[in-house]
Assembly symmetry: C2
Homo-oligomer: 519 residues x 2
Amino acid sequence: MSATNAPNGADALIATLLHNGVDTCFSNPGTSEMHFVAALDNEPCMRCVLGLFEGGVTGAADGYARMAGKPACTLLHLGPGLANGLANLHNARRAHSPIVNVIGEHATYHRALDAPLTADIEGFAAPVSSWIRTCESADEIAATGAEAIAAAMAPPGQIASLILPADTAWSPAATQAPVTAEVGSLRQPAADIDALAAILRSDAPTALLVNGNAVIGANLMRLGELAARTGATLIGDTFIARIERGAGRPGIRRLPYFAEQAIETLSAFEHLILVDTKAPVSFFAYPGVPSELTPASCQCHTLTAPGEDTAAALLALLDAVGGSAPAAVPELERPALPQGALNPQSIAQALAHLMPEQAIIVNEAATGGFGIPGATAAAAPHDWLDLTGGAIGMGIPAATGAAIACPDRRVIDLQADGSGMYTLQALWTQAREQLDVTTIIFANRKYAILQVEFMRVGAHNPGRRAMDMMELDRPNLDWVALAAGMGVPGTQASSAGALSSALEHSLATPGPYLIEAVL
Amino acid sequence: MSATNAPNGADALIATLLHNGVDTCFSNPGTSEMHFVAALDNEPCMRCVLGLFEGGVTGAADGYARMAGKPACTLLHLGPGLANGLANLHNARRAHSPIVNVIGEHATYHRALDAPLTADIEGFAAPVSSWIRTCESADEIAATGAEAIAAAMAPPGQIASLILPADTAWSPAATQAPVTAEVGSLRQPAADIDALAAILRSDAPTALLVNGNAVIGANLMRLGELAARTGATLIGDTFIARIERGAGRPGIRRLPYFAEQAIETLSAFEHLILVDTKAPVSFFAYPGVPSELTPASCQCHTLTAPGEDTAAALLALLDAVGGSAPAAVPELERPALPQGALNPQSIAQALAHLMPEQAIIVNEAATGGFGIPGATAAAAPHDWLDLTGGAIGMGIPAATGAAIACPDRRVIDLQADGSGMYTLQALWTQAREQLDVTTIIFANRKYAILQVEFMRVGAHNPGRRAMDMMELDRPNLDWVALAAGMGVPGTQASSAGALSSALEHSLATPGPYLIEAVL
């Protein structure tokens, strides 16, 4: 409540957010959100983190949710503020990250006047949101806020968008008591456990395609045990919101990105059992290549879909399979520090050598990062976060949010240069909050994936005008200057040795750092 | 058509775009747009300009449309690419800028598979688009493209969003001939010209609130003549897409931004005649302040609404009013170059002294720019472009697009620092295209408008936590480093003399330049 006013709708909302454990707000407010900002002044338990662009705000909320396992809220300024955050909300939706968006709106009586900032906020929100509500009075804010939290936390995690007209925030709220969010449980899977166990016990080559809750914590070890007992192969989806990996964790190979390779991988199996995921499809369509990746010779079965109780299902399946064998896990291996030329391989080697315990790796390295999972499979145990929705510009923001969620862990963002330019503003937030984030820019100075894809979709050899749309070298970006402009120190590395030294320096130094790896 | 393939849907679309004068494409393509990019290779008449973020792409299309008076097309990558461009499309919609968005989509048969990048593209497009169509075959692309162009050019100018599934672009197109867009005419106004003439001839204090087509070219001179003959006051909307001003042009005072001041301005009149605009409303709602700005004592009349034939209406009104008097126009005045402290006033004075003939001023200076229109009213004749939709981040992109549209004119972007950070990536496009754009960053290192608005909406004195959401000085941004990182040279100015020197240097030097004016 403010010093001079009675408690208002904004106060009531913040009380309900805190009551339900939502204590972090990634924010870029405007005039219509000023009462929410004023209410923040009085609630030291709500951490409010400013972003200089809403793509950074929503991407940070995604990274935070993946690591904290609970929602942050965002504070966004009307339709355009939400619009700027939509691409990373798209990624968050694909990651099943719980997020509560608080979106300011004109006062209820002002909306019909079509002022310049008036827009169809619910329309903007709909494609990414599983729950949308516009408050119409201060009195309902606490209850509606609790509904938003419940919607966000509904398994497997969703985007909830709560639209807050300015007068509902500034008017006195009759109801002051915070409201408890009633969060639904994981759904019980409908799988025929005995049938799946029979497949796993048979001689038929079988793989488990895994994602979601299956690849963290105890479930990951259960997967490893299942593989050890049955000889089944564990394959992870190409992009995973959060996976635990490295020394001591069962290794999960990944389904390749390119459709032909994915189909070839799966053609080795007669059965594919889906664990917390759905049947795999091609990222893009290509002329003459199937979009569904499971070959006709391979039968697809579902153990659990996202939102179902994977822990219970895995325990039941282990029980039905019987036997006993411990999960095969790699021991820690530290390759030598790389020498010589700087390339994706030497970056991977330096990472594998230097990665600290419990690092959080954010992977938006695109083509430059293809070899890193393999090289770091036996590195120190770490979490790995992928770009789940293909909307580039997730890396710097998600690293920012992950660092807020896990202040005791080092975050390393493997960042393609083209993608990094989408939301570079989040570097400033890393500097303001002095977050322990190391950003490695894979500076190949092109949209390399497009040069590959251009051929793959069947277009002819690109000429100068086409290449101009895929090259970033006229002029070159100077990432060290960009970072310095936002208060993040950094250096450029052109050799494997320089990269290793810079990485070692950053890992030993609190606060953010950026390394431009010139490839 | 490509060297090795038969003409496809992408070729057909580009042919129709060019046939209708759409010869500039602001672009950030992805895999699903590769055939469109391949088609560009074969069409040297289509200028394709790469942006490193879609907010820069759509904002450039807005600036281009305002100056070229015709649409550019954008090339955007699926739902997330469009989403990143929505905020500046919101501004463009408010500016009545014609734009044809070409939005890539998964192949028709791939859409149902819910691949990672799948999103409701039409849903994202709806809040900003007056026309949306998803192509379903290559054969219809030319005709649908012509419809999109016609929709974009329908008065007063609209956003058309054409969604292009990848297989419609890559499949052979049976119809090769480009299709002519049937563009609608300005609507005839329904105003009672004689009644309005009677009001203007009366002694009742009368103002004309003007915008759109009324404030450029011959219409602007007609307004001046009308004012001279009748004593009516000319008032422009607070934000105008494009207005011609300076020496030799009738002066148009602006309706103040803050509601109380706008109401006070209008309370001096008994009649308000709307010319190519609608009745004025407050930008935001404030507790206890009316949202509709025309006081009860002032009667509102419409001469023309946007999309109506303002030229014909003004000629008819001049005829009905009778008499003859030339428009009062200022002669060129060049104030002395400023000395001493750097502040918004000295920046305005330097601008007024140094502004070249036919400069294009893009105004996103926010609070720092309040005094500039007054100071430059008799500067060399120039065009002035405002932020029409309140979605910050329009300045750098719109300046980029205006410079592409008018390569012989100097563009000067008056740019608030907080707003500039939204779409700073467009500086790189200025460097790549070597555009004659001078960016002046008003570096007050805060969201100054919010510190004003915080009080005005009735919130209490902000404390540290609230101020943290409105201040950009922890750490300070270094705009010269940011610009250098994208290949744009620049300098920091901390005195009026330094600002003047830097501005003079930039105006005499081809290519982009950035001046960080530290306030």
